[in-house]
């Protein structure tokens, strides 16, 4: 540990001696983002994840949540309310859900904008890993304060035109906030997600806290990840839409 500290201090001294950095470019910021997370190799070495956490939906109301993800873009979210398990899943093509709370235990297809949102969430790497090979367009919009913290502002535009603004803190270039325009009940709203509690999982820095809220609204939803396991065995059929009724009612 002592050696590490010495090394860190030496690097810091080196940094101090460097001339002022030239104009910051998008590529440099993204490179730093990847390095801060642990590097491309470490990121790519993770093939699947199981995340356990809690979702707070209102004062005193919370639900256990489990998220399973598998490369390249499969995801299954389960959450439990009053002993009933809701499921949302995506296998790379089809999105589906079981929402037993309103009485239906049949899996239902998810379509339209909801499906796109789900596919975005299922994207294992996000827009910055190997960004030049990806379909999104990235644009650096300079720096802006996010809740008092200076941040790099990057606009991510998907092929279909939807835009997300991602803010990376200027110290580590890690994501601290994303703002996306989305449709809720037919109205366009801006949904902000703040990221925090970065912790290392299998050599990769991962946010363990997310606070989601509609921009301008008072209350939001907080999700805390209590445990993230990397490279767990996840069979493909966990993500595929079941033909028949699943065991949602147990």
């Amino acid at each position: 540990m002592k050696r590490t500290m010495t090394f860190v201090l030496a690097i810091l001294a080196l940094v101090a001696a460097l001339p002022a950095a030239a104009e910051t470019t998008l590529d440099e910021i993204i490179a730093t983002n990847i390095e801060s997370k642990g590097g491309l190799d470490a990121i790519k070495a993770i093939k699947s994840m199981r995340i356990e956490g809690r979702m707070q939906m209102g004062p005193g109301m919370e639900a256990p949540i489990t998220v399973e993800m598998k490369r390249p873009g499969s995801m299954r979210i389960e959450f439990v309310i009053q002993g009933m398990t809701g499921i949302q899943a995506y296998d790379g093509e089809t999105g589906w859900q079981v929402m037993p709370f309103t009485g239906s235990t049949e899996p239902e297809k998810i379509t339209g904008e909801e499906l796109e949102n789900l596919a975005d969430q299922a994207d294992f790497d996000g827009p910055f890993v190997n960004h030049k090979e990806r379909s999104e367009t990235l644009e650096y919009l300079g720096t802006e304060e996010v809740d008092g913290t200076p941040a790099h502002k990057i606009k991510v535009t998907k092929e279909n035109g939807t835009e997300t603004i991602v803010f990376l803190d200027t110290e580590y270039c890690l994501e601290i906030k994303a703002v996306a325009k989305t449709n809720m009940q037919g109205m366009e709203v801006e949904m902000a997600t703040a990221f925090g509690d970065y912790k290392e999982v299998a050599g990769v820095m991962m946010a363990h806290s997310m606070n989601q809220s509609v921009v301008g609204a008072q209350a939001g939803q907080a999700i805390t990840f209590e445990k993230i396991e990397a490279n767990v065995d996840l069979a493909d059929d966990r993500f595929a839409m079941p033909a028949a009724e699943p065991a949602a009612t147990e």
Binding site: V8, T32, G60, M61, Q82, G103
Partner: protein, 1033 residues
């Protein structure tokens, strides 16, 4: 460890390239120090505020509306004026002109600085432009124009824009007249100027020939005590070459000096042009030759009244003879000006903006002193769009009810009161009107909460009984031999902080009443300068006499009795005297000359005697009505003998109100025309409080002594409340320097969430209500990035209760704890139990809890006091009975869950074995029998039918969970039927456990024997310990 070290090193190395590590900054405050301390709006929007400008555009089939308000910023609607969002909160709130580029609906031009220059008008900061529909703004020039009344964009050339810069109201300035840009605002050329006293009062463009323009130039000036409209500089001008050359038009118009002129060509026949011209004989005029010559039309008071305030003509897009003239109400002619009638009688008076839908001329939007209205029949009937919280308060106060109510008077909208919080968010329905005209001060009688003292303009004081509206005029009247009493437009009124029976009102003299205003004692000589030059309001107005009391001067504006001493009274006047008596009014000292660097006669806008230290007081002054925009804030610690200025960066805007905190003497709040400023070190350093407080004029600052809330009376954004100042009071220099700290909050009272149904659609302002739960505040010097940041709550015995998620921002953070533990685990079923409180854990008992903030490896601890709500009145025994019953049912629910989970577990084990066996296997048959028996048993414990709760199936789970919710949702004693039913359900749970044990006892030995023979794992029941460990997650 090695891997970790390499990782860290990599992190630092990578960081060096573009994200240099910065050193630790000094602990100074800025706007982000206050972090999550956010104001909340309680509206009201039941009445509007003044709408000064408006434009709207159809994009595809959706109508987008931009509303520019007098002092509340710009609001945009993307749904045809149903809902609105503010889009200009970082800039001046005063809007004079708003124009959408006709060839690009995303380009919006805004002229700031309202140009309907009444006495209470605010100031602008030039021209702003947005190219993204109002999402972002750029200031593009004319920054010293102060006010702009019109912007015209060339219909084909987006970069060619004309600005009608009205200019300074209170002094001369050069940057006024007609300006033109041809490069989208990069450069501006003054194309028509008269002199430094004359600005552009109105500008219009020919709808077919955009190089033809008409400009009404206007000479005008306001002083604190006088207004002049008109002079030799005024005149009507026209150009036919895009402003290169202008000719003054006179033929057919009044002779002599002119005042404000409005002009408008008819879109459907532009050779027809209409004008109103203020003069000795103000009139309405029509030209049929592109404005060269004019003919006087109908004489009508409806068209001619108050030209300085109403100077707008709107011609129907399809009918050149149909002309709207907004004024005190809107006048309409349908015959080209021969006859006028008034319309829109149901709307608030004083109309300043009118938009006619080009797709459907029946459809109108109207902006008034009381908000926005919409008509679908050309103005015959109107709907109020009550979703804009832009009410313009002068003073506000509060009472001691629970929740407390807020009282206040508004520009042209009387006096209102409403609750600080409610079961729903505070909405329009919660507000009640109790005073007419323009409202100002309003105070509840401290001995009778039903009585309110209020006033309307010019000191017309009234005593109003809220419950029945009974109103008595109580204004002091001249005693024999007394001179005429001079009351300000916004006459000072004050209630004693020391005695429940004492009310003050100020004319040039100070009056005191101790009998609810039935009689008044004069306790001062004339405390003003009594300058006769400043008492000519009867002649005020210029060409059009306008004596509304708005120019009343040499009068008392502020009164403040010293906390702790009823005989010490501070008085401030509109003509700049700051007076003090320390013997109940027998002797008065004018302190004005003791104040350094304060120009003579600068209006005293606020006095706050310290609630902590006798002799210490704060005073703010406002010279903007003479063109002096300097901020003046002073403090004295020796009864006014000497004063120190507290003004520092980043304070801006003329000062309107100041308040020292009731608990921490170093905590100061300052309101200026441009927002709220806070100091935590007695005025050494200031930061603007930006948490949901726009750059709006803060006219009054109050602190509620019981709830510790900051109550802001804003002139343009209604009433804002910052809940619970306790964390801010504890933001000491030491705290600011720490990396993190827990901060105390007010005592948390236990209440259950409640609600009230409303189905009002979207066209109503929805405010907010006080946050429920216990607030936990913490300070972070930097945004938290790595490792956990969480809050754990422990009961008085030290047992963990719950863990709360946190926000991570720099500065103050606030999270709420519901004062409940985690919800019980409920058995899986096919039905949701529709009992809200079954989703929640039981409320914790009163006591002192421990809050632990964990920040990476550091942790901080703080006690948190939880108390029963004092208003609910449940006895300790009843509260304990509820705690006991809820805990018992909680345990019973979990006992059932454990049973059902075990049942399912065994069933699934059996099913797994069954699936691995052949069809005819004997063991298979036994397993089938077991599974069937278990499923039958389960169907009696939990709802299994499809369809959810609407299917109405109620088994033991549903009954038990519902009962738990019922008991959990009421703080007091559970009813006997609840307790009896708990007995019934407990015996049912016990019976089910017995049945389950029997069911397994009959079958498991044989099955497990066979499994053993097949070398398969025996069916095993989960232990309670294992089950509980699974739930701990």
């Amino acid at each position: 460890m090695a891997a970790r070290g390499v990782f860290l090193a990599g992190l630092v190395l990578a960081t060096a390239a573009v994200c240099p590590l910065t050193g630790i900054a000094a602990a100074e405050i800025d706007s982000n120090t206050f972090g999550d301390m956010q104001a909340r709006s309680i509206g009201p929007a039941v009445m509007g505020g003044r709408i000064a400008a408006m434009d709207a555009v159809w994009i595809d089939d959706r109508l987008h509306v931009y509303v520019g308000t007098a002092t509340g910023g710009i609001w945009k609607s993307d749904d045809g004026a149903t809902t609105f969002e503010p889009i200009f909160d970082d800039h001046t709130m005063s809007i004079g002109a708003l124009t959408i580029d006709p060839s690009n609906p995303e380009t919006i031009w805004v002229g700031t600085g309202e140009a309907w220059p009444r006495n209470s008008v605010s100031v602008g900061e030039g021209v702003f432009k947005s190219t993204d529909g109002g999402e972002s703004w750029k200031q593009v020039g004319l920054t010293d124009s102060e006010r702009i009344v019109e912007i015209l964009v060339h219909p084909e050339e987006s970069d060619t824009v004309y600005v009608c810069a009205t200019g300074h109201l209170w002094d001369a300035n050069e940057e006024r007249g007609v300006y033109k840009t041809t490069d989208g605002g990069e450069n501006w050329e003054a194309v028509l100027q008269v002199d430094a006293d004359t600005g552009c009062g109105n500008l219009a463009m020919d709808p077919q020939e955009p190089d033809v323009l008409y400009a009404g130039m206007w000479q005008f000036r306001r002083e604190p005590w006088f207004f002049t409209s008109g002079g030799p500089g005024s005149g009507l001008y026209r150009t036919t070459d895009g402003g290169e050359n202008w000719e003054r038009v006179t033929e057919g118009l009044p002779e002599g000096e002119l005042g404000r002129i409005a002009v408008a060509p008819a879109p459907s026949r532009p050779s027809v042009v209409y004008a109103t011209v203020e003069a000795e004989d103000t009139g309405f005029f029509r030209s049929e030759d592109l404005g060269k010559t004019w003919t006087r039309k109908a004489q009508s008071a409806a068209v001619e009244g108050r030209p300085f305030y109403f100077s707008l003509i709107v011609v129907d897009p399809v009918d050149h003879n149909r002309v709207y003239k907004p004024g005190t109400t809107t006048a309409l002619t349908t015959d080209g000006g021969e006859n006028f009638s008034t319309i829109a009688g149901s709307t608030h008076s004083d109309h300043h903006a009118l938009w006619i839908d080009p797709r459907n001329v029946e459809h109108l939007l109207l902006g008034t002193d009381g908000g926005l209205y919409e008509s679908h029949n050309r103005g015959r009937s109107w709907t109020f769009r009550n979703s804009l919280p832009v009410s313009q308060f002068y003073q506000v106060s509060f009472d001691m009810e629970r929740p407390y109510n807020v009282y206040g008077g508004l520009q042209d909208n009387g006096t209102w009161w409403g609750p600080s919080s409610a079961l729903t968010p505070v909405m329009n329905k919660h507000w009640d009107n109790i005073g007419q005209g323009d409202g100002f001060h309003a105070y509840v009688d401290k001995k009778d909460n039903d009585i309110v003292y209020l006033e309307w303009q010019g000191g017309r004081a009234q005593r109003v009984r809220k419950s029945n509206g009974e109103t008595k005029d109580i204004q002091p009247l001249e005693a024999k031999g007394e001179p005429k009493y001079r009351f300000n437009w916004n006459a000072a009124m004050h209630v004693s902080p020391n005695r429940d029976d004492t009310l003050y009102i100020g004319a040039q003299f100070l009056f005191r009443s101790r009998d609810q205003g039935d009689s008044w004692e004069r306790i001062s000589p004339d405390l003003t300068t009594d300058d006769p030059e400043k008492q000519r309001q009867g002649e005020s107005g210029g060409l059009t006499i306008d004596n509304s009391t708005a120019e009343n001067h040499c009068s008392i504006y502020r009164i403040a009795e010293q906390p702790g001493n009823e005989n010490t009274i501070w008085v401030g006047t509109d003509d700049g005297n700051l007076q003090l008596t320390r013997d109940g009014g027998r002797n008065w000292t004018d302190l004005t000359s003791n104040i350094p660097d304060l120009p003579a006669n600068t209006w005293v806008t606020g006095i706050d005697p310290s609630p902590h230290t006798p002799g210490t007081a704060f005073a703010v002054f406002d010279g903007h009505r003479t063109g002096d925009m300097t901020t003046y804030v002073y403090r004295t610690d020796d009864w006014g003998k000497s004063w120190t200025s507290l003004v520092k960066e980043p304070i801006e805007g003329y000062a309107l109100a100041i308040r020292q905190d009731l608990v921490n003497p170093k905590l100061l709040f300052l309101g200026t025309e441009f927002g709220l400023y806070v100091s935590v070190d007695g005025g050494g350093a200031w930061a603007r409080f930006k948490g949901n407080v726009p750059r709006v004029g803060i006219r009054e600052i109050q602190i509620h002594p019981r709830e510790h809330d900051l109550i802001l009376g804003t002139h343009g954004r209604g009433i804002l409340i910052v809940d619970d100042l306790t964390p801010l009071r504890n933001l000491t220099a030491e705290t600011l320097d720490a990396k993190g700290a827990l901060l105390p909050s007010r005592v948390a009272f236990m209440t259950s969430p409640s609600s009230s149904q409303t189905f009002n659609g979207d066209n109503e302002f929805v405010g907010s209500t006080a946050p429920g739960g216990a607030t936990i505040a913490y300070y972070l010097k930097k945004r938290h990035m790595f490792g956990d940041l969480k809050i754990e709550i422990y009961d008085p015995e030290g047992n963990w209760i719950t863990t709360l998620p946190t926000t991570k921002r720099r500065g103050l953070n606030r999270v709420s704890w519901s004062m409940r533990g985690r919800a019980p685990k409920i058995p899986p079923s096919a039905s949701l139990v529709p009992q809200f409180f079954s989703f929640l854990g039981p409320q914790v008992p009163a006591g002192t809890y421990k809050v632990k903030l964990i920040r990476g490896k550091e942790s901080y601890e703080m006690p948190l006091r939880v108390e029963p709500h004092p208003d609910l009145g449940h006895s300790a025994e009843d509260l304990a009975a509820q705690d006991k019953a809820a805990a018992r049912l909680y345990a019973l629910v979990e006992r059932l869950t454990f049973l059902v989970d075990r049942l399912i577990d065994i069933r699934d084990q059996a099913q797994t074995h069954r699936d691995g066996l052949g069809e005819k296997d004997k063991l298979g048959g036994r397993l089938d029998d077991l599974i069937e028996a278990l499923e039958k048993e389960r169907a009696g414990l939990v709802a299994t039918r499809k369809g959810g709760f609407i299917a109405g199936e109620e088994q033991l789970r549903e009954k038990l969970t519902s009962l738990y919710g019922s008991v959990n949702g009421f703080e007091g004693k559970p009813s006997k039927s609840h307790l009896d039913y708990a007995d019934v359900l407990e015996s049912e749970v016990a019976a089910a456990e017995t049945r389950f044990a029997g069911l397994l006892g009959d079958r498991l030995p044989a099955i497990n024997g066979q499994l053993e023979r097949k070398k398969l794992q025996a069916l095993a029941e989960k232990s309670r310990e294992d089950w509980e460990a699974e739930q701990r997650r």
